[in-house]
């Protein structure tokens, strides 16, 4: 199998073969002496040149993270023969930006009005969840195009709260 792997933004070409009970592994063409065993679901034990790694896989709807010990790496994986697996752009840097509720909760206060000019990082509204008030900050400098959430509204994680242009 050959994979294109992206770890924290950096691309690797990975070749993995299993023959005679041993792994053949090449990373960007370079051979890596490696042994691996899946100890339980989502937990891998990997030995590379004597070093032992416990690696945890954390999967969410669209993201894949790998934890090597206590360090967390964002991972993307593509089979070059396949067209699947490409993450779509998810918004880009320019244009209107949606302010997304990071957790379910209740909008307890609006801190700005529509059409207000805001700085990147400025608090736009306050959502209460798990007994804590959390200021939701503007993702960019710009104008508040629309405040979708009303004071007192219950929101779910992922709901659009506002749009900043």
């Amino acid at each position: 199998m050959t994979y294109d792997v992206i770890i924290d933004g950096k691309s690797y070409r990975l070749q993995l073969e299993r023959t005679d009970g041993r792994w053949q592994c090449r990373l960007d063409g370079r051979e890596v002496q490696m042994d691996a065993v899946l100890t339980r679901r989502d937990v891998l034990s990997v030995l590379i040149g004597g070093k032992a790694y416990e690696i945890k896989r954390e999967r969410t709807a669209t993201d894949l993270h790998l934890w090597v010990g206590s360090a967390r790496y964002a991972a993307e994986l593509r089979d070059p023969r396949s067209l699947r697996g490409r993450k779509d752009g998810a918004g880009g840097e320019k244009g209107p930006k949606k302010l997304i509720a990071p957790m379910p909760g209740k909008v307890v206060r609006l801190l700005v009005a529509e059409k207000a000019e805001v700085e990147a990082g400025q608090g736009l509204l306050v959502v209460e969840a798990m007994k804590m008030q959390n200021e939701i900050k503007s993702p960019k400098k710009g104008t508040v195009q629309k405040l979708v959430a009303a004071e007192g509204a219950n929101v779910n994680a992922g709901d659009v709260l506002a749009i900043v242009e």
Binding site: L14, L16, V32, R41, D42, V43, L44, K56, Y73, M103
Partner: protein, 508 residues
């Protein structure tokens, strides 16, 4: 001894009390709201009753529902845990009226300690050291100036009915005082419907150190050593330890004797905590008394070898304290980390959702009090405390090294937790030197983390491919074993909604 105890709480503390009941041969009764049907405390109790919708006011805070379950189940006592009804004097009274023993102090003690100015007045009478200032509301700016001149700047203005930093002003000079007083009074009026503001000397960079006390119903009161609780964020404790790095035997005895005096002045019974502010000269001042079991009680249990919940139950059932002050033996060092469902990369926002993978630490010197399990969906409706990890060691440095080891073993997948924060604190030079005050954590969090080196990125790349070969699965939360992930939703609860939520949240 009681036959059956109702636990009017949820999460890790409900599990903690259930365990104590089991150890004492007492039947435990859990209560749960709609979103807690699959919670660990329901699974672990001997009996469990549904008490209503998620909103605490309609379930965990609802007197009549809880007392109704007590009657239905035949419970002869109620343990309130911490939070919810634990410091509600009216609930303690309602229990007494219903003929159910409230495991805690009397409503009279709770009422006295519930009002800041009243507690201050009583403690002044009892000769307890207080931060210099007035125990009554200020009548004019002139009076304020006069007191401030006497006690010295900086001073702190505080709302009598206050809490949570509302109606509080730190004043450095005489010039600022008048407008600060007006601001504090109007904020106090708006927040609490009561504009009464009093003045205290401001303690610069104080430590928050508290003393555990225990009093039976026969007049015996003891102290069980202090807890250093200076590491706080948003007035919420994050990490606690005992002993405090600055408290030696003599200071412990002096603080302990004051704490016992406080408890006796309040005719206190059962477990309680006397909180002190400690200044840079190690002078300590009474701050308030918490009339309940604390979240951080395990550190005291580890250094004394006692079980505070067992003792709470024994005391409430009328037993005498089984030991004297002289028999209390403090040994070793203990530190507690509160594991919260919070996102360290996103300003510690709450992070509810489904736990897809859970690896729990154990081994020497490690105690884990947890309310979570793999497959459980953390509800959004309550406090984000998931578990407590407590490390014990022969000395402070061993306790720290064991905790760091255990934190590295701890893995909670699917939701964000503050586990990485503890690694940071426990490796910080100021923490290691014991240089702590209530501003410590805010300062630490303001310093930028050094860029993670990512030296194992190649290992991660290889692992990504290995997982794809060895365990191919759709990239969804809990998808490896979808029956697992869906478990929380089985009873028609809101779990499926949160699952969706957790997934969406992961988009960030």
């Amino acid at each position: 001894m009681f036959k059956k105890i109702l636990i009017a709480n949820r999460g890790e503390i409900a599990v903690r009390v259930i365990r104590a009941c089991r150890e004492l041969g007492i039947t435990s009764v859990a209560v749960f709201s709609d979103v807690d049907r699959a919670s660990l405390h329901v699974r672990k109790a001997d009996e469990a009753y549904h008490i209503g919708p998620p909103a605490a006011a309609e379930s965990y805070l609802n007197f009549s529902k809880i007392l109704g379950v007590a009657q239905l189940s035949g419970a002869d006592a109620i343990h309130p845990g911490y939070g919810f009804l634990a410091e509600n004097a009216k609930f303690a009274e309602a229990c007494a009226e219903a003929g159910v023993k409230f495991i805690g102090p009397t409503s009279a003690s709770m009422e006295m300690m519930g009002s800041k100015t009243r507690a201050r007045q009583e403690m002044e009478k009892a000769g307890v050291p207080l931060v210099p200032g007035t125990a009554r509301g200020l009548e004019s700016a002139e009076q304020a100036e006069e007191v401030a001149a006497r006690i010295g700047y900086p001073v702190m203005l505080k709302a009598a009915a206050g809490g949570g930093g509302k109606g509080m002003r730190l004043v450095h000079t005489r010039e600022q005082l008048k407008s600060a007083l007006e601001g504090a009074q109007s904020e106090a009026l708006r927040s609490f419907g009561d504009g009464e503001v009093y003045i205290e000397k401001a303690i610069v960079n104080p430590r928050h150190i508290e003393m555990q006390v225990l009093a039976d119903e026969h007049g015996n009161t003891v102290y069980l050593g202090e807890r250093e609780c200076s590491i706080q964020r948003r007035h919420q404790k994050v990490l606690e330890e005992s002993p405090s790095p600055i408290v030696g035997p003599d200071m412990r005895r002096r603080m302990g004797e004051v704490a016992v005096r406080v408890a006796k002045a309040a005719k206190y019974t059962n477990a309680g905590t006397v909180e002190f502010l400690v200044d840079q000269e190690k002078s300590f001042y009474f701050l308030e008394m918490n009339t309940r079991l604390q979240v951080e009680h395990p550190v005291t249990e580890l250094i004394t070898g006692l079980d505070l919940v067992h003792l709470q139950i024994r005391i409430a059932s009328g037993e005498k304290l089984p030991f004297t002050q002289e028999e209390v033996r403090i040994r070793g060092h203990a530190i507690e980390c509160r594991i919260y469902a919070e996102d360290p990369d996103n300003n510690y926002f709450p992070s509810p959702g489904t736990i897809t993978l859970l690896l729990a630490p154990s081994g020497p010197g490690i105690r884990r009090d947890s309310g979570m399990y793999e497959g459980w969906t953390v509800p959004v409706d309550y406090d984000p405390l998931l578990a407590k990890l407590i490390g014990y060691g022969t000395d402070r440095s061993q306790a720290i090294s064991r905790l760091v080891r255990a934190l590295n073993e701890y893995f909670v997948g699917g939701i964000k937790t503050n586990i990485s924060l503890f690694r940071r604190i426990l490796g910080d030079a100021d923490f290691l030197a014991g240089r702590l005050d209530t501003g410590y954590l805010d300062r630490l969090l303001k310093t930028k983390l050094p860029e993670a080196k990512g030296e194992d990125a190649e290992v991660a790349a290889i692992a990504a491919g290995l997982f794809a070969v060895l365990e191919p699965a759709p990239a969804v939360a809990g998808g490896g074993c979808s029956v697992n992930g869906a478990s929380g939703a089985m009873n028609g609860s809101a779990a499926s909604g949160w699952r969706k939520a957790a997934r969406t949240e992961a988009l960030r």
